[in-house]
């Protein structure tokens, strides 16, 4: 390996010790992970939290439940293919599914800004109603707060979800094994680009819509089809790269990706090229990676191909016998290899 292995593609590296919170601390990159490790994990330390998964699996009387919570802040509130309401339902439902849990119920808390039009709120509530019905999960409890004008982006939503984990199911980063194969259920970068297009004033020959969707069905199809699934992770902030790096680190394994196997739509690629962004790091809301035992890989693919959200599923990489644990490398389109590193913070459009 030449020095190339040790470059990162984020320019330049930020100073890490900020006295105040930056937007970048919520960007799904190094700053956010540093904040979580140094602040939250250090303070709240406990075994379920140490798993570093999207939700926690807890022992309850005679069974196991999964618990997950997530806040949703998005500008604009409405974007092609979804809105803050669909995100708030699907995001938490998906986090439960990634624990192998069948979602049972959601709670929803609303922080409303004084002056928010009732019509806007009603649109979001109806979206949540539709998304919850589509995912087959009721919203059973909630909370409402109103803040002064100028203190919120119109509307913030926080959802929490409970799910049941069937006996014998154990899905978490620590179960990943050498030789495991990575499956991805479709093309990447759509959600982030759909939102950014609205912000950047881009238009499309055919509109890019968010991939926002509940992933319960394809995940349950895999699990109930008897596939040995070791870990699941939905690709949200930080994109495909962020998710795979998180798992590689939590599991202490080396993951090798194949760039040419990762599908990106031409218009998403075009928008990324133009803004100097890497689709690997762009947000998704209806995509997940599954780490499955190699002997089950082909069957897992065939199962996914039979589901609406897995029709484009592919194998995109595998877990190599560790060279360096916690490392993700990728065979590039020209057949060379490079490290895939976590970005510092949010991906910013660049001119360099």
């Amino acid at each position: 390996m030449r020095d190339a292995e040790d470059f990162v593609l984020s320019c330049p590296i930020p100073i890490s010790e900020y006295p105040q919170v930056l937007l970048a601390h919520g960007g799904g990159g190094k700053l956010m992970h540093g904040l979580i490790e140094k602040m939250f994990l250090a303070a709240f330390r406990n075994p379920p939290l140490e798993v570093r998964h999207d939700g926690a699996v807890l022992q309850a009387d005679g069974g196991r439940i999964a618990l997950s919570t997530d806040s949703y802040v998005v500008r604009p509130l409405f974007f092609p293919g979804g809105d803050i309401g669909t995100l708030a339902v699907n995001g938490t439902v998906n986090d439960l599914a990634m624990c192998g849990a069948r979602p049972l119920a959601l709670g929803a808390a609303f922080i409303l800004e004084e002056g928010l039009p009732m019509e806007t709120l009603w649109r979001v509530v109806r979206s949540m109603q539709d998304a919850a019905a589509a995912a087959g999960v009721p919203i059973v409890t909630g909370d409402t707060k109103v803040v002064d004008r100028g203190k919120g982006d119109g509307l913030f939503v926080t959802t929490a979800g409970l799910g049941i984990v069937p006996p014998g199911r154990d899905i978490r980063p620590q179960r990943v094994r050498s030789g495991d194969v990575l499956l991805l259920n479709g093309d990447v970068g759509r959600h982030g680009m759909a939102v950014m297009a609205v912000r950047e004033g881009l238009s499309f020959e055919s509109e890019i819509t968010s991939d926002c969707a509940p992933l319960v069905q394809p995940v349950m199809a895999l699990l109930e089809g008897g596939v040995q699934v070791h870990c699941l992770r939905d690709l949200t902030r930080g994109g495909l790269a962020g998710a795979v790096i998180e798992i590689a680190r939590a599991a202490g394994v080396h993951v090798e990706l194949e760039e040419r196997a990762i599908p990106v739509r031409p218009d998403v690629q075009g928008a990324c090229e133009m803004l100097g962004l890497d689709p690997l790091y762009v947000a998704n809301e209806g995509r997940f990676v599954a780490f499955v035992a190699p002997q089950d890989a082909q069957r897992a693919l065939e199962i996914l191909w039979g589901t609406a959200l897995g029709a484009e599923a592919r194998i995109i990489g595998r877990v190599e016998a560790a060279r360096k644990g916690g490392l993700v490398t990728m065979t590039t389109t020209i057949g060379a290899s490079r490290v895939v590193d976590m970005l510092s913070g949010e991906q910013l459009p660049r001119i360099c």
Partner: protein, 367 residues
């Protein structure tokens, strides 16, 4: 995408790499000047395909990294003035000044906005006529026409609340500074294709002749860079030192006349400090007197103020390939990616940052 994907073909890349290997008989050090090319090399792993005798040195061609400390400090200061809207390309927000970066200024309440184009900043100024809107005009010759046009439009449209904090730098003087230094090891250059798209490549001929180095104007896709290296190696092996153009689909010998005329109308050549290298004469652009009203440094009373950079930083020598990063006394102790003293540690594409990561695998959760 046409004109992108066909230049990322694995077989063609191997074919070029094999040709380079067949042609190379001894070690050569070639510098790609442009940070955009460095980005491609790193992102696609282009250098992995090269024979071990070829060393690519990453040049000072990242305007983000070479913007001097004093201008970053002025940007943070202007952005922090109540009522100012400070617009910048995204990549400038993380560059550390003496007292933090623009991201930190934004966290303290400054109105800092990322724009895609200087015309977007001008539109912000039109939309907020009662607020001062400042655009951080960084970049090489490539970006200068866009910024010049924004100034001309602002003047024509009578937009008085718009100004530029100008940090423009020019490539040929920096190349000459590298070549003229006593310890220079660079034997051939890949010149920056998009700079030459604007400026042409006639001004490189005297450099090639005077210093006896081949200069190949090169594009930005993996095959472009491999072909540029191949053309450069052929010249070196044959003992030639000419200016050649690999990037013919975009670069004409005279560049873009309309763009050059507008640059000359709005900007004049000034001395400029480069972060980690120091002052290089005639290496920057400043606003012409006719457009001095649009100079943010004058408008906010910051002209002529300088900041002493760390004298410890040896990045100038590193950029010339004279010094390996670990040989710098500050390396890894007083100078790290988190607290950089100079350009090569500021940018993650810089040689020092690369070495730092190479010697020290980042610990889990380390920032």
């Amino acid at each position: 995408m046409r004109f992108i994907h066909e230049y990322r073909d694995a077989r063609a890349a191997r074919r070029l790499a094999a040709a380079i290997a067949r042609t190379t008989t001894c070690p050569w050090t070639i510098m790609e000047v442009c940070g955009g090319q460095t980005h491609t090399i790193v992102k696609f792993g282009v250098d992995e395909l090269l024979p071990p005798q070829i060393t690519l040195v990453h040049g000072p061609g990242c305007p983000v990294c070479v913007t001097p400390l004093e201008l970053i400090d002025k940007a943070v200061e202007i952005a922090s003035i109540p009522g100012v809207i400070f617009c910048s390309f995204g990549d400038m927000l993380r560059v550390p000044g003496t007292h933090g970066d623009l991201l930190a200024a934004r966290a303290r309440g400054a109105d800092v906005r990322v724009v895609y184009s200087p015309l977007d900043a001008l539109a912000v100024a039109r939309a907020h006529p009662r607020r001062q809107v400042v655009f951080f005009a960084v970049g090489f010759e490539t970006t200068a026409p866009a910024n010049a046009l924004a100034v001309v439009q602002a003047q024509r449209q009578g937009v008085r609340n718009f100004s530029l904090l100008v940090a423009h730098v020019l490539v040929p003087p920096a190349m000459e500074a590298i070549l003229a230094s006593p310890g220079n090891r660079v034997q051939g250059f890949l010149a920056a294709g998009h700079v030459c798209t604007v400026m042409g490549y006639e001004e490189y001929r005297p450099l090639a002749a005077r210093y006896g180095v081949p200069i190949v104007v090169t594009g930005f896709e993996p095959l472009d860079i491999l072909q540029g290296v191949y053309m450069c190696v052929r010249q070196l092996e044959e003992g030639r030192a000419e200016v050649e153009n690999q990037y013919v689909r975009s670069v004409r010998p005279q560049g873009n006349r309309a763009a050059r005329e507008l640059i000359a109308q709005v900007f004049c050549v000034v001395p400029r400090r480069w972060r980690g290298i120091g002052e290089i004469p005639k290496s920057g652009l400043g606003l012409q007197p006719a457009y001095a009203d649009f100079d943010a440094e004058r408008r906010f009373g910051l002209a002529g103020r300088g900041v002493e950079e760390s004298t410890e930083c040896r990045s100038g020598l590193v950029l010339q390939g004279v010094l390996k990063p670990p040989q710098c006394p500050a390396f890894g102790t007083r100078c790290t990616p988190e607290h950089p003293l100079g350009a090569t540690m500021v940018s993650s594409e810089g040689a020092c940052a690369a070495y730092y990561r190479y010697r020290r695998v980042p610990a889990q959760g380390a920032l």
